[in-house]
C-alpha cells in the first residue's frame, strides 16, 4: 500500500445537532496545494464540515489529520487553519493593516516581520492606499480582500473559505474568484472552499465534493462531475440537465438498458434489473435538433426560448416538472415556434441513467 498523499485527511466525520444527523461519516482527502470545493444545497452539512476542520465545533466522531498531525482535539488557535468567513468577520475597531497584522501579533512575531508581512499582503490584495483606513469604511469587495489577506498573512497550512463571495454582485464575484485563485496558486496554499454556487465551484476547483444530506455523493474534477455525475443528485445540482422519469423494460448487449418513459423508449448505458424505476438524464448541449440513426429520438413541443448572448436555450414541454432543454451555440432551426412538434435526439452514450430517488 502506498502512503496516502493526503495533506488534509478527514475520516468518518460525524455530527448531529439535536436529533438530526448533519454529517454521517464523511471522508475527504485533500492533496497539498489543492483547491477543493464542498458544493451542496444549504443544510447539506458543508459548513458544518468546514467548522469541524477549523476546530470551531467538535465532531461527534471521526478524525481530522492535517500534514500528518491529528488535530481532531486541538483548539482552533493551535491548528494552523485559516478561515475566511461569509460575513468576513473583520475586527471593526481596527484598521485594514491592523486586521492583517492581528494573527502575527497574537503569535508574538517580531515587529519588523509583522510590518513586512502586512506590507506584502496589503500589496497582494491591492489595498495599499487603504491600509490605514478603518475596515468599517470599506466596500464589500474590499472587506473580502482584507479578510483573505488577514487569513493568509499567518501563512496557515490550510485555508478554509465559507461562501466568501456570496455577498458580492456577480461582476465583482467573478473578478474576486480569479484574484483569489491566483493568490492561492502564488502562495501554494491548500484550500477548502464551501459554496452552494455550482458555477463558482466549477470555475475555481481542482476537485469538487458534491454534498447532499450529510454525505459526499461524488468527489472528482469539475469536468468529470459535469460529464459523468455519479448520482441523480449530482446531475441535478451541477449544471443544467433534462431529466425524465422511467422504468427499465429490458437489457441489451454491451451494458445498454432500455427505459420506458413518457416520451417513448430511451436507451443508455447502465446495469439495472428489469422493472427498476430510474431517472434518465442528458446535458442540454448533448441534444441536437432533428432525428439521427442510433440515437434516442423524441418529439417535443417548444415552450420557451432563452437567449443568453453566446448561447441560446430552447425549453420544451415535458410531462415532468423540469422542462426538456437544448443548449446550442449556433442558430436554432428556422420555423421553430411554440406549439409545433419537433424531433430532437442525443447519443445513447450521452444518456445518463440513475436509480430513481425515492
Amino acid at each position: 500500500m502506498a502512503a496516502s498523499p493526503a495533506f488534509l485527511d478527514i475520516r468518518r466525520a460525524t455530527k448531529s445537532f439535536g436529533s438530526g444527523a448533519v454529517l454521517s461519516g464523511v471522508d475527504l482527502a485533500v492533496a497539498p496545494g489543492e483547491f477543493v470545493s464542498l458544493l451542496g444545497p444549504s443544510g447539506c452539512g458543508k459548513t458544518t464540515l468546514l467548522r469541524i476542520v477549523a476546530g470551531l465545533i467538535t465532531a461527534d466522531a471521526g478524525e481530522v489529520v492535517l500534514d500528518g498531525v491529528d488535530i481532531t482535539r486541538k483548539p482552533p488557535h493551535h491548528r494552523d487553519v485559516g478561515v475566511v468567513f461569509q460575513s468576513y468577520a473583520l475586527f471593526p475597531h481596527l484598521t485594514v493593516a491592523e486586521n492583517i497584522a492581528f494573527g502575527l501579533e497574537a503569535k508574538g512575531a517580531p515587529k519588523a516581520e509583522i510590518a513586512a508581512t502586512v506590507k506584502t499582503f496589503v500589496t497582494l490584495v491591492h489595498m495599499e492606499a487603504l491600509a490605514d483606513r478603518s475596515v468599517k469604511a470599506l466596500s464589500g469587495g474590499q472587506q473580502q480582500r482584507v479578510a483573505v489577506a488577514r487569513a493568509l498573512a499567518v501563512r496557515p497550512k490550510l485555508l478554509l473559505l465559507d461562501e466568501p463571495f456570496s455577498a458580492l454582485d456577480r461582476k465583482l464575484r467573478e473578478t474576486m474568484q480569479i484574484e483569489l485563485k491566483r493568490l492561492l496558486r502564488e502562495l501554494g496554499t491548500t484550500a477548502v472552499f464551501v459554496t452552494h454556487d455550482q458555477d463558482e465551484a466549477l470555475a475555481m476547483s481542482d476537485r469538487i465534493a458534491v454534498m447532499n444530506r450529510g454525505r459526499i455523493e461524488q468527489l472528482d474534477t469539475p469536468t468529470a462531475i459535469y460529464a459523468r455525475p455519479a448520482t441523480a443528485f449530482a446531475l441535478e445540482f451541477v449544471g443544467l440537465s433534462t431529466r425524465l422519469a422511467g422504468k427499465v423494460i429490458g437489457t441489451e448487449p454491451d451494458g445498454i438498458v432500455a427505459v420506458e418513459t413518457a416520451h417513448g423508449t430511451l436507451r443508455g448505458p447502465g446495469a439495472f434489473a428489469v422493472g427498476s424505476p430510474v431517472v434518465v438524464g442528458v446535458r442540454p448541449e448533448r441534444i441536437a435538433f432533428g432525428a439521427r440513426d442510433g440515437a434516442n429520438i423524441i418529439a417535443v413541443e417548444l415552450m420557451d426560448m432563452v437567449f443568453q448572448g453566446s448561447r441560446v436555450q430552447a425549453h420544451f414541454v415535458s410531462p415532468d416538472d423540469h422542462p426538456i432543454m437544448i443548449e446550442s451555440a449556433g442558430e436554432l432551426p428556422a420555423g421553430l415556434a411554440p406549439g409545433s412538434p419537433t424531433p430532437i435526439s442525443w447519443g445513447i452514450a450521452d444518456t445518463l441513467i440513475y436509480p430513481a430517488v425515492s
Binding site: A54, G55, L56, P75, P76, H77, H78, R79, D80, V81, G82, V83, F85, S87, A89, L90, F91, P92, H93, L94, F102, G103, E105, A106, K107, R150, A151, V154, P156
Partner: protein, 286 residues
C-alpha cells in the same frame, strides 16, 4: 412706483421637528428637578449677608467631611468593581444564550428590579446577621471558625448594594455584546489568538462603551444611595448621601445639607460626564 415692493417670503429653514418630541420630558424635568436644584444651589451659596462660599470652606475644613467623602468614593468604587466583575460574564452569557435560556436569564436579571429597595435591604439584613445564611455557610465550610455578623459592616453594605445595582451593570454591557458578531472571536481563534488574547484584543475593546455606561450607572447610583446604607450599616458610617439626608431630616441643618448635596452632585455629574467623554473617545479610536 407707488406700491411697496412685496417683501420676499423667507424660506423657513427645515427644522428638525423630531426634537420637539423631547418637550414633555424636558418640561417635566425642568419643573420637578431643575428648579428645586437651583433652589438647592442657591441655598448652598447664601449666607446671612448674601453670597458666600463659607458653607463649603467650613465643610472642606472639617476632617469629618473628608472621611465622609472618602467613605462615599470607597463604597462607590467597591460596589462598581463588584458589579463589573460579576456582571460582565453574565452579560456575555446573556447575549450568547438562545431561546428559553435567554428568557429565563433576562427575567432573573430584570424581575428583581420590581422588588422595592427597602424590601431588598431588609432581606439582606436577615442574610447578613450573625446567624444568617452567609455566616452559617462560611462556618459550615470551615472558612470562619465561629459565626460573625456581616450586617453593619462595609463588606455587608457592598454586597447588598452590588446586588441591588447589578442589573444596571449587566444591561448596558449586554446590549453592546448583543451587537458583536460572534464570528469575530472565532476569527481571532483561527488566526492563532489564545482565549485571553481574544478577550483582550477583541471583546474588551468592543464592549468598552457598554462597560463605561454600566460603570457610570452603578457608580452614580451607589454614591447617592440612602436607604441601603441606612439599613445595612447604620448611622456610624456616613456617606455624602446619608449625611445630606440626616442634615435635612434629623438635624434640620439646611446649610450643611445643601452643601453636601452640592458636593455629591458635582462628584456624580463629573463621573457621568467624564465617562461619557471617555466612551466617545474610545469609540472614535476604535
Amino acid at each position: 412706483m407707488t406700491t411697496a415692493p412685496a417683501t420676499p417670503v423667507a424660506e423657513a429653514p427645515q427644522r428638525d421637528t423630531v426634537a420637539w418630541l423631547a418637550v414633555p420630558a424636558v418640561g417635566y424635568l425642568a419643573i420637578v428637578y431643575a428648579v428645586p436644584l437651583l433652589f438647592l444651589l442657591a441655598r448652598s451659596v447664601t449666607g446671612p449677608d448674601g453670597f458666600t462660599l463659607s458653607l463649603f470652606t467650613a465643610f472642606f475644613a472639617d476632617p469629618f467631611s473628608w472621611r465622609v467623602i472618602g467613605n462615599t468614593l470607597r463604597i462607590g468604587v467597591l460596589v462598581t468593581v463588584v458589579c463589573l466583575i460579576i456582571g460582565y460574564p453574565v452579560a456575555l452569557a446573556l447575549a450568547r444564550a438562545r431561546g428559553l435560556v435567554q428568557v429565563i436569564l433576562l427575567t432573573a436579571i430584570i424581575l428583581p428590579l420590581s422588588i422595592g429597595v427597602v424590601v431588598k435591604a431588609f432581606a439582606w439584613q436577615i442574610v447578613l446577621r450573625r446567624d444568617g445564611v452567609v455566616s452559617q455557610f462560611l462556618v459550615g465550610i470551615g472558612i470562619w471558625d465561629e459565626p460573625q455578623r456581616l450586617l453593619f459592616t462595609e463588606t455587608g453594605l457592598v454586597l447588598g448594594a452590588a446586588n441591588v445595582f447589578l442589573p444596571f451593570m449587566i444591561l448596558p454591557i449586554y446590549s453592546v455584546v448583543k451587537l458583536i458578531d460572534p464570528r469575530l472571536t472565532e476569527a481571532g481563534a483561527t488566526l492563532g489568538a489564545s482565549p485571553f488574547y481574544r478577550f483582550r484584543k477583541i471583546l474588551l475593546p468592543l464592549t468598552l462603551p457598554g462597560i463605561v455606561s454600566g460603570v457610570a450607572f452603578v457608580f452614580s447610583l451607589s454614591v447617592s444611595m440612602f436607604v441601603i446604607p441606612s439599613l445595612l450599616i447604620g448611622d456610624r458610617f456616613q456617606t455624602l448621601a446619608t449625611l445630606t439626608g440626616r442634615s435635612y431630616l434629623l438635624m434640620r441643618n439646611e446649610a450643611l445639607g445643601s452643601a453636601t448635596a452640592v458636593v455629591l452632585l458635582v462628584l456624580a455629574v463629573s463621573i457621568v460626564v467624564g465617562s461619557t467623554i471617555l466612551a466617545k473617545r474610545l469609540g472614535r479610536s476604535m
